[in-house]
Symmetry: C2
Subunit: 241 residues, 2 copies
Amino acid sequence: MSPPKAVVLLSGGMDSATTTAIARSRGFEVYALSIRYGQRHAVELEAARRVAQRLGVARHEIVDLDLRAFGGSALTADQPVPKDTPLDRIGEGIPATYVPARNTIFLALALAWAESLDARDIFIGANALDYSGYPDCRPEFFAAFERMASLATRAGVEGEPVRIHTPLIALSKAEIVTRGADLGVDFGLTSTCYDPAPDGAACGHCEACLLRLKGFAEAGREDPARYVEALGREGARARRR
Amino acid sequence: MSPPKAVVLLSGGMDSATTTAIARSRGFEVYALSIRYGQRHAVELEAARRVAQRLGVARHEIVDLDLRAFGGSALTADQPVPKDTPLDRIGEGIPATYVPARNTIFLALALAWAESLDARDIFIGANALDYSGYPDCRPEFFAAFERMASLATRAGVEGEPVRIHTPLIALSKAEIVTRGADLGVDFGLTSTCYDPAPDGAACGHCEACLLRLKGFAEAGREDPARYVEALGREGARARRR
C-alpha cells in the first residue's frame, strides 16, 4: 500500500521545516508547497528548496502570487520591518509584518493541490504561543478553516473530511528547535529573518530573528544560521534581557 | 459619510456582472477583483475590464495566480471542455470543468484585499440552482467561509464579522437575467463561455453557454452575446429540448 499523501506548506523557515519532518515521521508522502507572494525575502524560497531537497519530499511546487496590489503589510509593501521589539512585547498587538489573510490564502492553495492529488491532509507550521499576534495563527481559525475546507471540496461532498494539521500550534520555539533537531532537520538550511541581507544572512533584530534566537537559547543549542553580526548563544541570551 | 466599501469578485460573466450591479445598488463602493488563474478563457478578463468600466467601480484589480501546477481541471489543464451535455443532466455530478478549491482561493484573495481596504463585505456571484455541481457553490460552504473569515482577520479579532454576500445563490439563470437587466447590466459586455473562439465569440455548446441560453430563453430576452453560430431565442429554446 502506498503511503497517504499530505500537502505541507513550506516557507523555508524553521517552523515549516520542522513541520515537514513531522509529516514525514507520521508516514505521509510529502508534497511541499511554497508561495512566491511578492514578499521582499525571496531568500526564504531558496531555503525552502534546500529544505525540500534535504528532507526528500515527493514534489516541491512554488506558486507565484503577487499580493502587492493589496498593500497592507511590511512584508509586501514598502513599510519598514520593526526592529529590536522587546521580547515581552512581541505578540501584544497585530504587527506591521502581518500579511492580510495570508494563512487563509496559503491554506486555500494547499487545499486546491490536495484535492488534485486526492490527499486529505494539509500541514502548516503555525504556532500560537510565539505567534506574534497574527489572527490567522489561532487554533480556532484552523478549526474553522478545516470545517470550511471539508464543505468546499469533492472530499466534502463525498463525506471525507479534510484535516488541517498544526503540529507546532502549542509548542514553544525552544520545543520546536528540540523537536526539529530530533527529527534531523538541518536548521542551517532554514531562513527565518524578515529582513535578510542580499547574501541571505539574517538581520538578528526583527521579531522573527528575536523569537528564533530566544528559541535556540532556551533549547540550549547553537543556531547554525548565518547572521549579519556574529551572534553566538551568549549573544542570543544577551538579547533576552 | 463615505459609502461602505465592498470587494466584488468579477469574472466577466453574466453572474458576476449582475452581482457587481447589485452591490452598487445596495450602496457599496465597489472594488472589483478578477483573477488571472492560468485558465484558457482569458477572454473573460477582457469582459471583466469592460464590465468594471461600464459599471463605474472604484477600482478594478487583476491578480495573477497560476494554478496549472496543480492540474485537475478542464479549465486549467489540457482536458477537453464537455459539450452539449443534456440540460437535465447538468449539475448531476461534479463536472470536469471544476477547478479545485477555486471559490475558496478567490474568496481568500478577496478577503486579503477587503482587510487592506478596511472593508467588511465581499460579494460573489455564486449560484446554487444552476450551479453545475460545484461543491464550493453551496450555501453551507459560504456560511462556513464567512465564519472562518471572521476568525482569520483583524476584523475578527476586533469582533467585526466579515460578510460574504451571495445575492444570486437562490436565483435561476432567468431571474439573474431579469435582475441584471433591471439594474442596467449590458450583458453584451459579459463572457460566459468555457471555450470561446479567439475573437471572443461563445461556443454555444459548453455547459456555461447552455445554462446561459436557457436563462435568456426563460426570461424571454434575446442574449446579446456573440456566438460562433448565430443563435437566436429560438435556437436557445431548441437546445432545451
